[in-house]
């Protein structure tokens, strides 16, 4: 079954959270980040080209203009391939593990899988950003050496960095808490 809700992040961009339940033991959450707008793209391109034209009038060298075009193209490709995240998916499979996938605007996908044996707990952390407090979900990993220690804190949904998960925390934690609790009981 599918379920969709929309929220907004602290900068006002639109976020959409989609929840799919494949089976009682498998759950998927998909968070779509705000898209790149034509206005920002035009603004950046115009700034770069105006600066290049200004340099050209100073130096009278036409290589500057070609260089500006190359820089704009390469910069845009690099931004789409390495920086701009389109949507992030969290797949929770009972007694197997948790998988986080980030899909970039150019189509690249980067996946991390954490086995259930390594997960200690899923918590909501507070962080102070500028003048407000934002909340984000993270996974605590077990320390192989010390049984009660924590080796790493892995934040979830890091794509749109300034997202406030307070509005979506409830849905996600209720959903995956159930699976984690059931797998915890069985261990």
């Amino acid at each position: 079954m599918e379920d969709e809700q929309s929220f907004s992040d602290i900068c006002g961009g639109r976020l959409a959270l989609q929840r799919r339940c494949y089976s009682p033991s498998c759950l998927e959450f998909c968070l779509s980040c705000p898209r790149i707008t034509l206005r920002s793209l035009t603004a950046v391109t115009c700034t770069v080209w105006l600066a290049a034209y200004g340099l050209f009038t100073l130096c009278e060298n036409s290589m500057i203009l070609s260089a500006a075009i190359f820089i704009t193209l390469l910069g845009l490709l690099g931004y789409l391939h390495f920086v701009k995240i389109d949507h992030e998916t969290l797949l929770i499979i009972d007694s197997l593990g948790i998988q986080m996938t980030s899909s970039y605007a150019s189509g690249k996908e980067s996946t991390t899988f954490i086995e259930m044996g390594e997960v200690k707990d899923v918590v909501i952390n507070e962080a102070i950003y500028m003048q407000k407090v934002i909340y984000y979900l993270c996974i605590l990993l077990k320390d192989p050496v010390e049984p009660h220690g924590i080796s790493q804190v892995v934040p979830l949904f890091q794509g749109g960095r300034r997202q406030d998960h307070l509005c979506i925390q409830q849905k996600v934690s209720l959903g995956d808490g159930g699976i984690l609790a059931s797998s915890g009981r069985q261990k």
Partner: protein
């Protein structure tokens, strides 16, 4: 816990039969390795499994039945399949079923209680996870999971359920040795059942590697013995060898070649990768060196270089002379102490004059020397670059000498000044307590001390200026040499074989796995596809980096500035085994 069944994708279209694999009770997962087809004799199947278990130390058993059929099952087939559960008893007993030509699978796992209590057998939810057997067999997980010693195939640790799956498949090679063209008693289906994978080139290379390695190992041991003989350990020669970076690089390469061609086999995959990386690095080095050699000879650059070398050295010396004349005058408007200025300036000018004479003496032999040095490029580009760095060091030796003279003078002056400054304030350095104590001086001590202090203070700008100028020149030369060494280190340490493997066969270097949910219908079991998540390039370089000569600057910026201020000599890199000055 939900039961998991790892099923190989190559068996998804196989005919009906028995599922053979390993059951991991801690993870509640069954790893299916192969399918045994009808007809078979149960005794022979059990014998085969016992053989495989002994050869591979993996607890391979019959896990259940596999049914690939056209239409609804007949009653007799159903009973037959359940009867098999009595012959090969296993808890839980899996029954996988697939309709031919469609994507609907069904899977049951029953706990067989016995023939009488048939109704009390429980059924559990099963999750099907498909994996590519060939890729999982060939891949290595990073970081390598350390699984404890096993007795007859049982693992007692909860070390990563997925590491156990990879380990099981990797160790069960004995099961995959027979293909469908063999006339064995049991017919199996697995990733190699269409024909065992082999390559003639690889087999030939393996056969030829033995004698070639032996021959090269003997040659290399002869070379190392020759270089370790006592003649080279005498004082002047050993000092020169330790200072030249070419010798260091040649020694490093000799060590690497000895390791590559040693007749001992690699103990683990990491060592094998290291050997392969070293071999590729050496081959690339030699290839680049030969390219450089052919380019130099094609344009007769060696002759041009030899012709240009003497005028360049003359030009550098002239520029230095101009610099010294400028310092002896009123540099940047500062007023120098005339006498000291003249003394220092004339001393350095005479030094340059001597240097130019030596260069002119050597000029007839330069072309021959350069030609022979150019030949050394066929030993590798790194050797050629090291020679270039050494030539730069030799040609700028006079700058190094000036820097040492200036630094020593300045250092003496600073120490004298600090000691006399303490006297000026009525204090003294207590060597016993390692601290500054007050001290009462006699009048004549104070008088002479203050006089000397004043003299040193007024001579300070001259000495400081000479020191500054020559230190800057020396730092310039050191920067150029440092860049060359950086390039040499890069060629030495880059793991090209691992990077190539990551580019062409990304499944070989695995950082982990990723799952994809396949088409799901309600009432059917959940099906997932497990794929290998390859290692990112930065981690490949970090994990498989080769060790370099280790000539890296050991100072932080703070200690460097401190040394410069106090006039202590800077050695930008230390060769191994050098004593501190």
């Amino acid at each position: 816990m939900v039961l998991k069944a790892f099923f190989p994708t190559c068996c998804a279209s196989a005919d009906s039969g028995l599922l053979v694999g390993r059951w991991v009770p801690e993870q509640s997962s069954a790893v299916v390795l192969a399918v045994v087809h009808f007809p078979f004799i149960p005794i022979q199947v059990k014998e085969l499994l016992a053989q495989v278990q002994q050869a591979s130390q993996v607890g391979v058993t019959v896990l259940g039945t596999w049914c690939h059929r056209r239409q609804e099952p007949e009653e007799s087939l159903g009973h037959f399949l359940e009867g098999l559960g009595a012959i090969f008893s296993h808890k839980p007993w899996f029954q996988l079923c697939r309709e031919r030509g469609s994507k609907s699978w069904s899977c049951k796992a029953t706990h067989w209680q016995g023939p009488t209590s048939h109704a009390a057998s429980g059924e559990d939810q099963v999750m099907l996870i498909f994996y590519d057997q060939r890729k999982v067999l060939l891949s290595q997980l990073h970081p390598p999971a350390v699984l404890p010693d096993r007795q007859a195939g049982d693992t007692t640790a909860s070390a990563g359920g997925l590491a156990a799956v990879f380990d099981t498949v990797a160790r069960s090679e004995a099961l995959f040795q027979s293909d469908r063209f063999d006339e064995g008693p049991v017919r199996l289906s697995h990733w190699q059942s269409e024909g065992v994978e082999a390559s003639i080139l690889v087999e030939l290379a393996k056969w030829a590697a033995g004698p070639v390695c032996l021959l090269l190992a003997c040659l290399l041991s002869l070379v190392s013995a020759a270089s370790a003989c006592r003649v080279f350990k005498l004082w002047p020669l050993s000092f020169i060898w330790s200072k030249l970076s070419t010798c260091e690089q040649l020694r490093h390469r000799l060590e690497q070649l000895t390791l590559i061609f040693s007749t001992r086999k690699a103990k683990n995959p990491a060592q094998l990768m290291r050997k392969a990386n070293m071999l590729v690095s050496v081959l690339l080095d030699v290839a680049l060196g030969l390219m450089l050699l052919s380019w130099l000879h094609r344009k007769d650059l060696i002759g041009q270089l030899a012709d240009a070398l003497i005028p360049v050295a003359d030009h550098v010396a002239e520029e230095l002379q101009h610099l010294l004349q400028w310092l002896m005058g009123a540099p940047a408007g500062l007023k120098m102490n005339r006498a000291l200025d003249q003394v220092l300036g004339r001393f350095f000018l005479y030094h340059i004059h001597l240097w130019i004479s030596y260069i002119h003496l050597m000029s007839p032999f330069i072309e021959r020397i350069l030609w022979h040095v150019g030949l050394s490029a066929c030993l590798g580009l790194t050797v050629a670059l090291s020679i270039l760095s050494d030539i730069i060091a030799l040609l700028t030796f006079h700058i190094y000498c000036f820097y040492v003279y200036g630094a020593r003078l300045y250092c003496l002056k600073i120490h004298g000044l600090s000691s006399l400054w303490r006297l000026f304030r009525g204090k003294k350095w207590n060597v016993l307590r390692q601290r500054v104590d007050s001290c009462s001086y006699d009048l004549d001590q104070l008088f002479i001390g203050t006089l000397l202090f004043t003299i040193l203070v007024f001579l300070l700008p001259t000495t400081a200026l000479y020191y500054l100028v020559f230190t800057l020149l020396r730092l310039l030369v050191v920067t150029v040499q440092g860049l060359i060494h950086l390039l040499v280190d890069l060629i030495n340490s880059l793991p090209l074989y691992s990077l190539g493997l990551r580019l062409c066969r990304p499944y070989r270097l695995a950082a982990g796995v990723k799952f994809r949910v396949l088409e799901h219908e309600t009432g059917r079991p959940l099906r997932l596809l497990m794929q290998i998540n390859p290692l990112p390039y930065s981690r490949v370089v970090h994990t498989y980096r080769l060790p370099t000569c280790g000539c890296h600057p050991k100072h932080s910026w703070g200690s460097l500035c401190r040394k410069l201020f106090f006039g202590e000599l800077i050695y930008p890199w230390r060769q191994r085994g050098d004593k501190q000055d």
